[in-house]
Subunit: 258 residues, 4 copies
């Protein structure tokens, strides 16, 4: 198997992913693989033409906690899903040379970590946002440093806080009419904190599931290798990644100009 | 000390509080003491005329966790406060005769429990909302059963979910640029869960403070009694309660008609 | 129903319980109801003669957490029970006039709180200790202030630490070959801490059960009243309390003279 | 730097460590490096003669949680240390070919994991056991599969449960007259669970310290390399390892023959 991992700045992802595909490589490219949803037309065409696997390195969906969350939410473990709320933040204010603080390299919090708050809700629910009725996006050095987002999905509502100017924090809660499912460390499992899935749907019992030994980076590479060599369906296809980018485009649009 | 506790339906609070004041009683009235901010003119006038203490039974600010949270946030323990997010929900869908499901008695989730999510942010920060740029309010039986709120305070932003059609949940987080302060059970301390204040402002240390023996209802009555008999300042004066109602009026306005 | 609650110093329990029974009262007496196991002969005879309910106020077995622990352990939820370990401590070194620091009033840590560590293991397992092969008991002011105990039950072993000269702590764990059941606050539920029952018997899932609204003192009085008036079996009969005293006598014997 | 890591069965540790030293290598040997305390005479002589670093691969003392625990306990953060209790267990009953279930290869739970429960108490307190007044050791297939241990240190007491036939569990608590220090996952940090150090020494505040990114195996190798190349003092010298073996010998002696 001949594969390339693209770790370049965000603004170079599409260009180099396409070049690598043309060179006959399978490509795993860091998130976000694109800068806007329309870029996916070229990526999908490039992958098809090359007959190679092309995917966004979006490790979180390879973690058993997300696979389990999806299973629980879709099977009705929390009743009807009413609202999803999520936060992802860290503070790199002191690191102005960081690529994430550079507008011309595709920096900013939404592309860096907001991508997880959007995709996580989509992955677990299987639904796509209908609209983003409210987004307050604040900019610093030309990159978005804070975003407060309200989105409407067909059957539930969504809130997110994404920031690269706040104390590190990460969580996502799927809040139903009859239950609650929380991931205590959804995005950097076992680095930021122990990743636990907590299910409350009974006044008395709380079920916590944990995978202390799971490493989503390892699982991602294993899954990528398996799909590239056997042709098995990859858990995070371009169609999924496009949906996250569609939502991000909606958020930027709702947030107004920098 | 001659005092009255008013536990009537919300729509009767103003009327009977005024009657009790006129009868020469100190009055402690269940929250929300009013139906709109303008009601406070009559309440304040009535209390002044009677020379009696008149207050809203808003027990949460008597709990040591809120006094401590206020002290920590204002002293800079989390750096600059950037965002407050809070949730309060329970599910009484099956209880249609409940007063909280009756529009003509001042029912609905915002008046019943939203009042805590608004006042808690105001009490801890000492600030007042400038605007409510977004509120999605859903109605059932004529009462609000779900609200998603985004508010702007002068120096921070605010998000809340308030619902009487969702799995029980309550939490509030004060999220700063250099720290995080959470109350794990802010509104029904030690009934819903153990009330803990958790402070993270160091990559390594988390400080948890707990008051398992504190009972905010008892503290409220003690404080009320002390203020009524000695004239000492009451921790939750009408001016504070009015501010919460002002915010609620803004939310209803932003949410649009039922 | 005519009943008496005996809250006297430990050394007076038997005498006044018998007097109250003779006066035709149902009697609920604070733990330990006796000073040695042989006292139970008189207590049982007295209750029988009076035709009244006589019981030790041993509130913990009325709490749903212990009823649930018993059910889980006996149903094999942790496989075969291999070992029980428990701790109960607080520090009253500074309070020398406290009755618990007075030898002639039946003071000492074992009678005050050791009684819970012994009875809890017996209640949940339904088994009685065969021997106490090791007990280190330290005395201060003539009362036991620290005890380290190793006991053998027919099918499992037992360790306890009981002290009135150490930082407050309370916990009990039932450790099986295939599972673990912990009570995080077994003895002063919701005063010392939130009482949670935590079951681990699967590498991945941890089930926590909680009863934040349960009050074992209230449940005890309700159960006592129900048994006294209807003749229903009382959850904590004298035969059970005698067994705890038998174990305490074994511990004092193994620990040697003061 | 020329170094050897000895991962052989326990009964071969001394022989091959000595051979490697003679061959001029620095040696890091898996725990327990010896089978009885007297073996350390040869090990220390061998290391001295070779002029090389020889140490037991005892990773836990390289973890910041143990360095911090030592600092806190010795600085009086829990008042006077009164008792240490610890548990380490897992269940390999179904794996009879496992080297840990083979007597002739130095198997058994005490050598495999008991070594951590003994050394952890010694490392943090800096004290050595005076006696082991009680040890119940049960054997299976000729190896110890369960041990309940009571030990006396000069100023505190000690209890341990060590088993390779019980549900996985690991914890250690340093219990003082004025405080409590717990390590929630002392021995397999971040594999078994998130490693947290919890300090309670105030009725209200609990301080938790965490090092989610620390890896004691990496730190061990770094420390070994640094000491081997620079001659800096190694955090876990043979003299320390000998003390743990002395305690183990006392436990086997107290426990009686297999």
């Amino acid at each position: 198997m001949d594969a390339v991992y693209v770790p370049l700045p965000n603004n170079l992802h599409v260009e180099w992913t396409l070049k690598a595909l043309k060179a006959g490589k399978h490509v795993l490219c860091e998130k976000p693989i694109a800068m806007q949803a329309s870029d996916f037309d070229a990526l999908e065409a490039g992958a098809k033409e090359a007959g190679k696997l092309c995917a966004e390195a979006y490790m979180i969906v390879h973690h058993p906690q997300f696979i389990r969350a999806r299973e629980l939410v879709r099977s009705g473990a929390i009743g009807k899903l009413v609202h999803v709320d999520t936060v992802f933040s860290y503070n790199n204010a002191g690191d102005v040379t960081n690529i994430r603080n550079k507008a011309d390299m595709g920096g900013g919090g939404l592309r860096d970590i907001g991508v997880y708050t959007f995709g996580a809700a989509r992955f677990v629910s299987g639904a796509e946002p209908v609209s983003v009725p409210y987004a307050k996006v604040r900019y610093g050095n030309g990159v978005d440093v804070f975003a407060q987002v309200a989105a409407d999905f067909p059957e539930f509502t969504y809130s997110a806080i994404v920031s690269i100017r706040m104390q590190p924090r990460q969580e996502i809660t799927f809040h139903g009419d009859k239950g609650l499912l929380r991931l205590t460390c959804p995005f950097n499992a076992n680095l930021h904190d122990l990743a636990e899935l907590v299910l409350e749907n009974d006044g008395q019992r709380v079920v916590t599931e944990r995978w202390p030994a799971a490493n989503h980076y390892v699982l991602q590479v294993e899954n990528f290798g398996a799909s590239a060599t056997t042709g098995a369906a990859y858990p995070c296809p371009l169609a999924f990644s496009r949906g996250t980018q569609v939502m991000m485009d909606m958020v930027f649009e709702a947030g107004g100009p920098a």
